[in-house]
Amino acid sequence: MLGFFVLAFLLSPDARAESSYWKNYFSSEERKAVVKNAEKYTIKEIKTKSKKWKGIIRGYNIKNGTISDEDIKDNGISTDKISGLRDYVNEKIQGSSTPQDFSADNLTGTYAALDGSQITGLNPGNISIGSLNLGGGTFTAGALSVGDITSSGRFDTITMYSANGPIINVKHPDFGAIGNGLADDTIAIQTALDTAGINSTTVFLPKGIYRVSNLNVPSNVIVQGEGQNSTIIKLLNSATGNCLSVGDSNNVIIRDLQLDGNRVNNSTNGDSADSNWNGIWVNGATDIIIERVYSRSNGYHGIIMVNVSRIRVIDCHFEDNGYRPIHGHAGVYDVIIRGCQVAENGKGFANQGATPYDGIFFFDNVRRLVLSDNVIRGVTGSNPAIEVGGIKTGTTGSSHITIKNNIIDGNSISDGYGISLTGPELTDVIISGNVFTNILRGILAVDNYGVTTGMRFSITGNTFENCTSGILFYGGISKSIINGNVFDMETRGFGIKVKNLSQSTISGNTFTNAGTWTPSVGNDCIILEGTSVHNVITGNLFHNDSVGHCANYGVNENSATCNYNYITGNHYYQMVTANNRIQGANTQAGIDGTFVDVDGSTIGIANGIITSKTAP
């Protein structure tokens, strides 16, 4: 047989160098050499030689697969037995950026029933969250079994990081945070934050206690924890600064974590010497959201914001901070504080006395501030639960302030203020729907440093209960309304006391047992002082539970310079001897009110105003 192939081996007589020579060699001469070998050796020798070379060539990287005839007929074919299938599928899945056309619809017969249940042995190590792409399709949770997830499957051990991925886990080996409450995780977390800043991604802190010193949060980063009591960022002993600093950064979100300033080991006085130790220090920043953060035990403030705009503090908790829970000054624009729990802050402030609790504080150029739905407890001394204004002469006034639906529960009726409005040029203020209880004064507009002046105040729908006094405005406001409030004074003090009020309305308020049990001038339902002119006081209810006690006057015009006040249509019940006290030269015609069971025996008229009336 081999003789058929026995040909003379001839070297090419015109063999040339370079490609032409070797082309001829491979095309022709090599084959001739094979034939020559076949002639040279016996079949046995040829087989031996062939076997050796085939062994070498086949020995390298050979893959085997088998397909059984029976498999094809009855039981289907395992995918590992189908040559090329893996490449085909990979090409389909990875090789195109366009929607794939690899569809179950293309499967026929038995395979048309494939629904995923046939997939077994899936290795979790091959599942990458970062590459999971639902493609806008529907992911039905009902098909997802979580029964096999163990404690090691928590977020803290799942690799949730890629160089450009959406989430960076600080415990990923690339960063190496420990979170055991002992190790210094400053460098690890700061590296994660810086990396996130480059890629505009989220830094995720799994459950744990991370000991740090002065972390800086760059722009375009979300700092995400697992919950207020699960992810705790706690300052090291002798830390150099804030828990988190957001300086000149924009578009930052901080949420679901606790910031523990560890003030016992850093700063305990809460005074200016401790101003470097805050929960979050926000300076020169815009578009910041602080959400579900528990800021506690910081040496100075829970959150301090200076020269900021568009800040939202939502559903946070502040407690045991050395000075204030939230403090803002020197330019605070477009800020919302909502749904926060505030209690027992300012305990470290040495200047505030033995139990010096302080509250939320904004001053000096505050514009467009909303404080709503907060619960603030335990302010004491001369501290307010909420203070907004300019605080002293020389600072810029504030405007467009809304304080609504807060509950302010003081420490006792002998100290603490609910809302304090301070400084000059305070305008466009709405205070509505708040509850004041267990506190010295509900709303205060008096400034220890200067005169609190302002206009366009709308104080409506508030409730004052168990307070020593309701509202005290002692600077001078105009174009305002104090309407629809309830003063249940419980024989403690006045309801409303205003100085230099003008062009305003006090109407529809209910006063019960204002004043003290033994009536005295100055403990009345409404007191006008200074130069209060051109006001309307109407439709109010002045009610004492017992004749001869409590409020001395329904309206006490307690200054000869009051004028042009229109007092009418009020209802007086069981008042003391004189129901209105008119000292000013009111020139308006007197309009009566309704007088029931009053103590006066005659109708008194002063300057045209009915001041008292015998009961019918």
Binding site: E18, A38, Y60, S68
Partner: protein, 215 residues
């Protein structure tokens, strides 16, 4: 009497044979165990694929293919874009051939069989055109025949599948090996020259061929 007995006995034996035959014919056939077909194929390992991706790249826009080769190898393309011309293969079969490219571990291939360096490696690729021919038949025309103890194994390149053919040695030292891919009437033939019995040489050449991608 004895004759009768003999006839009866023979008849009984004959009947027994007939009954046995009928029974055997009518009984269920024995089920033959399913046959399995062994498929062997070669592909580049994932580790090698990484290395190969980092190699230098050659693209041929005339014959529409792309291939990688090691950074310390050299390419010779003086006939890489020649037109296909006719040549006669075994059994006087006519085909067209052209587009020859060579790769070598040496920086020139200006040698002959006699004076080439000891460690000289040469990988040659040629494009053929042959109508109405399948891969195995075409390999036979190149000399990879059963008579010469030739055999083949499936070989996977980047986006197509071919076969690696092995035959007897071209010389005393080197086997004759070619990897052939078919796309329609075109055949891309790679000759693996002078690999001897060195698997590393084989690995490099198979790595080059395995990176072939047709556009």
């Amino acid at each position: 009497m004895n004759k009768k007995i003999t006839i009866i006995s023979i008849s009984l034996v004959a009947l027994a044979i007939i009954f046995f035959g009928v029974w055997k014919w009518s009984s269920p056939k024995k089920i033959t165990p399913p046959k399995s077909t062994l498929i062997q194929y070669k592909e580049t390992s994932p580790e090698s694929k990484k290395e190969i991706t980092a190699w230098q790249k050659y693209e041929n826009d005339k014959y529409h293919f792309q291939i990688n080769y090691p950074n310390n190898w050299h390419i010779f393309t003086d006939e890489a874009k020649t037109d296909l011309t006719e040549l006669t293969l075994q059994d006087n079969e006519i085909a067209k051939q052209g587009g020859t490219v060579f790769w070598s571990n040496e920086d020139n291939i200006d040698y002959t069989q006699e004076n080439k360096p000891e460690d000289f490696l040469l990988l040659g690729m040629m494009v053929y055109e042959k109508t109405n021919t399948n891969l195995d038949d075409f390999a036979k025309l190149l000399g990879f025949t059963q008579e010469l103890q030739s055999s083949s194994v499936i070989f996977k390149a980047t986006n197509l599948e071919g076969k690696e053919y092995i035959s007897l040695g071209a010389t005393e030292k080197d086997p004759r090996v070619a990897i052939i891919f078919q796309k329609n009437n075109n055949f891309y033939v790679f000759h693996l020259g002078f690999i001897g019995d060195n698997q590393e040489n084989l690995k490099v050449m198979e790595g080059i061929v395995g990176s072939l991608s047709l556009k």
